[in-house]
Symmetry: C2
Subunit: 240 residues, 2 copies
């Protein structure tokens, strides 16, 4: 059977997964492109694969749709021909190296940070509730499949930090009263806090930090892109 009408209820249900509200209600999300679908299958998160009728892909639980329907569901200008509906992974216990993101808004920045976190051995990413949705298609694309290899937790940041701050060193990023990152002595358990693109870390969260670090730079440059700053910090503190 090939689904060929965009008025079909099942097709409409899938299309709705492009909205955060429906991802939250159903606890599922969409990934598109063969690379991401294969990563999702490896991670045992796939509910079913959706292919365009001309697309060859071997999988038991597969739904075939017409070109029109595939295009209707897809988020891409040039749809790839394959997607999957996935269950959201469950959050696991936190590891030793944590990165905490306070209200990051750009999907590319969040995706890049997730990608870098896997590269540099950070095991857990904690997102404030107002951070861009991690299951947004642009975020997923920017992670390059790394979304499935890191533990993601969505939490109230003050509560989260208060729960771990006797066991973990809480590290902010601030030039004022901060240490150069190369002078920072690694500890076993720590959480790095990174803030919003324009506003930085919220003052309530900033005052929970035990210590601040900064990346030295030319004074002609006010700041780095937050994806770059987070990646440089993880590169330095990731023990590789």
């Amino acid at each position: 059977m090939i689904y060929s009408s965009i008025n079909n209820d099942f097709v409409k249900e899938i299309k709705k997964l492009n909205e955060k509200k429906y991802r939250d209600i159903t606890n599922t999300f969409l990934v598109e492109g063969e690379h991401l679908v294969l990563e999702a299958i490896k991670s045992k998160l796939v509910k079913y694969v959706i292919v365009r009728e001309d697309y060859n892909f071997d999988y038991d639980n597969k739904i075939v749709v017409s070109e029109k329907v595939f295009k209707y569901i897809s988020n891409l200008d040039n749809p790839s021909g394959i997607m999957a509906v996935c269950n959201k992974p469950e959050s696991k216990d936190i590891g030793n190296k944590i990165i905490v993101l306070d209200n990051i808004q750009d999907p590319g920045n969040l995706g890049t940070i997730i990608r870098s976190s896997v590269a540099f051995n950070f095991d857990t990413i904690v997102l404030s509730k107002d951070t861009v949705d991690v299951y947004n298609s642009k975020v997923i694309r920017a992670t390059q499949g790394m979304l499935f290899k890191v533990n993601i937790i969505i939490a109230d940041l003050e509560e989260f930090i208060n729960n771990i701050n006797s066991e973990y060193k809480i590290i902010g990023t601030n030039v004022v009263n901060g240490k150069k990152i190369k002078d920072f002595k690694n500890v076993e358990k720590f959480a790095i806090i990174m803030g919003n693109e324009g506003q930085g870390v919220s003052s309530k969260v900033a005052q929970l930090c035990h210590e601040n670090i900064y990346i030295p730079m030319n004074k002609n440059c006010e700041s780095l892109n937050v994806g770059v700053a987070a990646s440089i910090i993880m590169y330095e503190l990731g023990d590789l």
Copy 2:
């Protein structure tokens, strides 16, 4: 006088600057938002400022347009109310620390690399002719005004590298036969080559490298975002 018709020839000329072809013909480009306009004024590149009729901004050579016209010219979903038509800066002599970009396609990546290059004291960015246009509005926004603080050269990369390779160390990025970046001994004059998001550095350019470096990472991660990789390398080799 307020320009209020989108059929006005002068308005149409400005609108055309959203296309690379017209930026190349006129040797000018558009920037939008007060921060970028102020940076462009400081750099003495502004031909004239364009403001929406409700926008207060003091400047001699100022053109006032209606809301409709401003929206028509603007690239933003929420137009800011101020733009400027700027002359493209002239390329200067190359400095000691150069970053060479071979066919970077994502505007955000190019903008981020430009921003980081200023932060880490790289004085010159060389772009292959097939790299995304540096005067594209998305690139300019991602530079956060740093576009005006770095020397940009567009060149045939083979020719460029052949011209400098007796004086500069040419450094590629490759794990195979590469040195860990922290083991690399800084030299006075060098050029780092970074490649396209999917394909990396083209083979013709790769074989002109004297030496390769790499960023160590967890084997679960195939690669970093190119903006992040370039920024980490500049961070390490920027002498700050």
